[in-house]
Amino acid sequence: MDFEMHYTEEQEKFRAEVSAWLDVNMPPEAVRPVDEGRKPPGLSDAAMSLRRRLGAKGWLCPLWPKEYGGGDLPVEQAVIIGEELDGRHAFLPYDLGVILIAPAIMVWGTDDQKRRFLPPILSGEILTWQVFTEPEAGTDLASLKLRADKEGDHYVLNGQKTFIGSDYRADWLYTLAVTDQNRPRHSNIGAFIVPANSPGVTISPMELIAGQNKNNIYYDNVRVSRDQLIGGEFDGWKVANSTLELEHGGASRMVEGHFVDLLLAYCRRATRNGQPLSKDPAVRDALVEIWMGAQVERLFNWRNYWMRTSKIPWSWEGCQTALFRKQSEPRVAHRVLDILGPYALTTDPKLQALRGEIENQQRMSIMSHPGGTPEAQKIVMARRIGIAKTRQKASAIV
């Protein structure tokens, strides 16, 4: 076993190249904000610009083939790019095209669709949102109702989606819709790439407690051409599951989160009643508990990354990782509240801890639902373990 990435001299040269390129091409404003819901001015444009430049260079999706807008680079170089971006706290705009949607198109799209859709997504020219959830269809996604009625070589879409996207405007809406009202569940759905500027699409922002602001999307007689349908007319459920497989932890990365390191450093530094917080026995134990959880999450991510890049078929690993994170975030927030009391809750410039990172973690910790609730992860895990009514293998991913 080997738990380290090893870089050759050649690869270290590549790192220097990436670093020098970022010195020139990364706008200084394109750094991760504490709270994505409250972006400082200038960040959005800077992040978009960084994305386009990375895309043009083939470094946005370094592992993908060049013909589809990727970089055709080996895993090590992809990790180097990730590490260099991470080291600079680089921030890229919200887009699900690259990590979730392109892989599904790769599995289910026709050759023509791959040529049309993949290069713009993977080279960062356009932004894509995942448009699945409806007011009456969340966990039970297959009960979705948005209609896609066939009219000649077009479909006409009507209905509503919710909790979608961010405040970066999407170009494409990757939309699930019912293509036949009479067919049974799971075989009545199509997956469409709908241009966001289609007549009849209305996007209206929601206000959320943390993170990106989401939208309601209304479809009012939106006409979509047949060749925008990924996979067969009734394959939408399978197509969506390739996406969900990745969303449930499959798209894991090697790069680590920094929150726990920051928290530990803060508690070594901050004093209460004349001694460092980290000398209080209860605080020490809480910090170690948080740190241990972070190690497990890191190792689950490494395992998944290794399995995916080595093409080892998997079972419950993806949803296990998502579940672990979704369960540990609220626990961490709870412990941090023990440790810091009211300081954990404030963004007051004078009183806040870690420039508001701590407060942001408190908010984010109540949002374990995107990509499936913890219960939904458990449902999938039980299937993969082989004990549920439904026996299910992992969906096709690339």
């Binding site: 080997d2 738990f3 134990d285 170690v288 190690q295 497990v296 190792l299 004990i387 009514k389």
Partner: protein, 372 residues
């Protein structure tokens, strides 16, 4: 990065798996449990025959020269089988103490016989003020001419009943020292400790036990760093056993949930039951990967290997106990029947929970190591 086993490790794993499935069956486990000393001579011999007793002993002393990762492979499989052998006492702890601190003569005389399985050693460390630090040792060794006289009691020592020799930690002027003591020495008696215990735990009484000065292992008064090093490095090996045990608890529970029918459906289709099994899987995998990383860190001399070791032992202790607990929830009545193998895993999980330090102790160590 490559988290797979090497080809030879995979072969080793398959070999041990087959051996254990053949020889360490549920019936055999029950016989061993009911036997006098709890020592499975047949399994021990089989392990020795293919060179596994001395797996981590250097080749120059007749061992296999294996790495910690290799030991991990062995211990996953022993743990899956819940094999109650003195391997950890003899082939890991005592062998490593001798490798680290033994005199050339001690190494040459003892290590090859440990590796062949002919000689079994056990480490007598813990006492009434229970703990894993040398400074918790009160048993005394008093110099008398060319000899030392040992006086005191050790408790909760595994494998003392089957050991031919003990390495006894004793207080000498200037610190704690280690002594090789023959199990048959006059004044030494071993008693079995009964209870909800996996394998065997013993109490050892040393009443004026006389050993020659040549019985000292390492420097007089210098046992603390040796014990500290060997115990810390061995913790992830024990953790591997606990991951293996968790894995078997998982498989037993999963299979039962798939076949036991209630209210017209296999119980595995109930979400409440699924929750138990998911808890097992998550605890098991958390322990598996922290353990793998710890073993790798030791083999590769990573400066933070002690962090990895304490993390692994804490996670594995939690995992094995959690796994068997949730297994009992799913097996319900069946799990409490002595004929069912799960209870071997349960008692073993509770016993290994504190062995080489319970999670609380390792969390304290982690707090120190993380400079909190």
């Amino acid at each position: 990065m490559d988290l797979s086993l090497t080809e030879s490790q995979q072969m080793l794993k398959d070999t041990i798996r087959r051996l254990m499935e053949r020889e360490c069956t549920a019936t055999r486990l029950k016989e061993i449990e009911a036997s006098d000393t709890g020592f499975p001579a047949d399994i021990w011999e089989s392990l020795a025959k293919i060179g596994l007793v001395g797996l981590s002993i250097p080749e120059e002393f007749g061992g296999g020269g294996g790495s910690y990762e290799d030991l991990g492979v062995l211990y996953y499989e022993l743990g899956r089988a819940c094999a109650p052998t003195p391997h950890f006492s003899s082939g890991v702890l005592c062998a490593q103490i001798l490798v680290e601190a033994g005199s050339p003569a001690q190494k040459a005389e003892l290590l090859p016989r440990i590796a062949s399985g002919d000689l079994i050693l056990a480490l007598a460390l813990t006492e009434q003020d229970f703990g894993w630090e040398a400074d918790q040792v009160a048993l005394t060794a008093t110099k008398q001419g060319d000899s030392y006289v040992l006086q005191g009691t050790k408790v909760f020592v595994p494998d003392a009943q089957v050991a031919h020799k003990l390495i006894v930690a004793a207080r000498t002027p200037g610190g704690v020292s280690l002594f090789l003591v023959d199990a048959g020495s006059p004044g030494l008696s071993v008693r079995n400790v009964t209870g909800f215990i996996g394998g065997r735990l013993n109490e050892i009484t040393l009443d004026s036990v006389k050993v020659p000065a040549s019985a000292v292992v390492g420097v007089v008064g210098g046992a603390a760093p040796v014990l500290d090093l060997v115990l810390a490095r061995s913790a992830p090996v024990l953790a591997a056993y606990m991951v293996g045990g968790s894995e078997m608890a998982f498989e037993i529970t999963r299979d039962y949930a798939g076949t036991r029918v209630a209210f017209g459906a296999p119980i595995g289709t109930f979400q409440r039951v699924q929750d138990h099994i998911i808890e097992i899987v998550n605890a098991m995998d958390a322990a598996r990967w922290t353990t793998n990383e710890a073993l790798w860190k030791i083999d590769n001399n990573k400066p933070d290997w002690r962090i990895g070791a304490s993390l692994a032992k804490a996670m594995a202790s939690e995992a094995f106990t959690t796994a068997t607990h949730h297994s009992h929830e799913v097996l319900a009545g069946l799990g409490s029947v002595k004929d069912h193998p799960i209870h071997h895993y349960t008692t073993m999980s509770r016993t290994l929970y504190w062995y080489l330090g319970e999670p609380k102790l390792h969390r304290q160590k982690l707090a120190d190591l993380l400079e909190l």
